[in-house]
Amino acid sequence: MAVSPLQLAILLGRSTRRALRRGVPRGEIVRQVHEIGFRSLLLVFGGMVFFGAVMTAHGAYQARKVVGDLSIVGPAYFEVLIRELGPTIAGILAAVRIGAAISAEVAAMQVTEQLDALRLSAGDPYAEVAFPRIVGGLIGVPALLVIGTAAATLTTVVVSTYAYGADGTAFMDPTFVDLGDIFAFFAKALGYGLAIPLAAVQSGFSARGGPGAVGAATTTGVVASCMLVLILDLLISALLFYTGL
């Protein structure tokens, strides 16, 4: 695979250093927040609405078997949604959309020699192409995850009330939600927000060849972003489990 953790660390360091030295491209960052955050909203929001409904269906199925009343599992489910499922499923959906968009765009720039042209005109692809996308991800992805998790929560409340006749408000009962859960949510959100654009930009930069290379870079970008989300999820969850948060 064309994306390794070491390469991502180098990409992050180089982009940040060069952007700080050359002046942070504010306008481009705003454009990237719009591109990464707003334009992924439909997929993340819609996906999480359906995901909330799916989880309610599973909960109802299991509740029939074990406890009998769906709303008993509500508060615990809400905690898991904030801590694990919300950030990760929304994160994968964001990774799919953002990973594909950024790697396809950057790879097309690379194979059509636009990045070389930028270098020749005294520009710097690290400062002007990579850095705004990384910052855009850091701002856009956590926002997407908050909206996605809220969407899944509200869907669960509505579906469990109207489709399964349970007391749906149990699914937004924050009894079990503590600071550790909120911390886990944002640790994951920031981790994904950093990792997704890094992996996508890296696979775009590594594209070599003709139109086929753009397709290959897009594939790598999507797969690497998704895998990084899952790897970070496991790492952060395990770490928080050991530290008892």
Binding site: V54, L93, A100, G210, V223, L234
Partner: protein, 258 residues
């Protein structure tokens, strides 16, 4: 914009009809090409989409197993029901997260790849060339890819489910000290062929969705390098959007019958 909302509604309706019609055409021409399917291309595509992705899905499954054990653990610790963790992790892996997460990663590994390769061939004039020498590109190239990527995704889903269950048992032992014996006991007692079958049915539906959408996206590509990237990205986004919706429909339907 002139015309206001009606114009937008009309445009979206035409676009929707275009997409549905396009998918219908891909399905119809694939079915018609089935008797003349090129077996060599079919095998080659299964290897390309399926076999070559095995290392990726094994890694994917290892992480899914670990994540779901930690997820199940949140409730298990609260209610002190450690003996149920095999069931809780197994159920969520087999019925929901194994198929869903595999399919979402496969929109990239198989969907984006298929769309990009077909788009490059399309833009490079190779599909036209085949037609020019009297070969039906659907029988030779397109239909084998549709069938092969569906088979590949469904089979990879099985690999994920199997490996993820073992990975869950491993991480259960490593992180929360659940003895693998009791993990598999609760798995065996409370899960059955129904759960495995439900997951497999989902994977087949997801595989078909990804392969049809990516094939159609690749076949309509026009332009240069930029178009190939755009087509691959569109295929990924469209199939993952459809997957989440489909997931709900299948889950509700399956829980009635299985």
């Amino acid at each position: 914009m002139s015309g206001g909302p009606f114009r937008t509604i009309g445009r979206s309706a035409i676009e929707l009809a275009n997409h549905v019609g396009g998918l219908g055409l891909v399905i119809a021409r694939t079915v018609r090409a089935l008797p003349r399917l090129d077996p060599r291309e079919l095998v080659r595509s299964v290897v390309h989409f399926g076999y070559d992705a095995i290392p990726l899905v094994v890694a994917l499954a290892v992480f899914i197993g670990g994540i779901l054990v930690l997820f199940a653990n949140v409730n298990v610790q609260r209610y002190g029901a450690k003996s149920l963790i095999g069931w809780a992790a197994g159920y969520t892996i087999l019925r929901e997260f194994g198929p869903l997460l595999t399919a979402l990663v496969m929109t990239g590994r198989v969907g984006a790849r298929n769309a990009a390769e077909l788009a490059s061939m399309n833009i490079g004039g190779q599909l036209e060339g085949l037609r020019g020498v009297g070969v039906d590109p659907f029988a030779l190239l397109v239909a084998p890819r549709v069938i092969a990527s569906t088979i590949a995704i469904a089979a990879l889903g099985l690999v994920v489910n199997l490996v993820a269950v073992f990975s869950a048992a491993f991480f259960g032992q490593l992180i929360i000290a659940v003895d693998p014996g009791s993990f598999f006991r609760s798995l065996e007692q409370m899960l059955g062929w129904r759960d495995a079958l439900a997951g497999s049915a989902k994977m087949v539906a997801f595989g078909l969705t990804i392969s049809l959408i990516s094939t159609r996206a690749g076949l309509v590509a026009r332009g240069g390098a930029r178009a190939v990237g755009r087509v691959a990205a569109v295929a990924v986004v469209a199939s993952s959007a459809l997957l989440t919706a489909l997931d709900y429909g299948i889950t509700v339907a399956l829980e009635r019958v299985l």
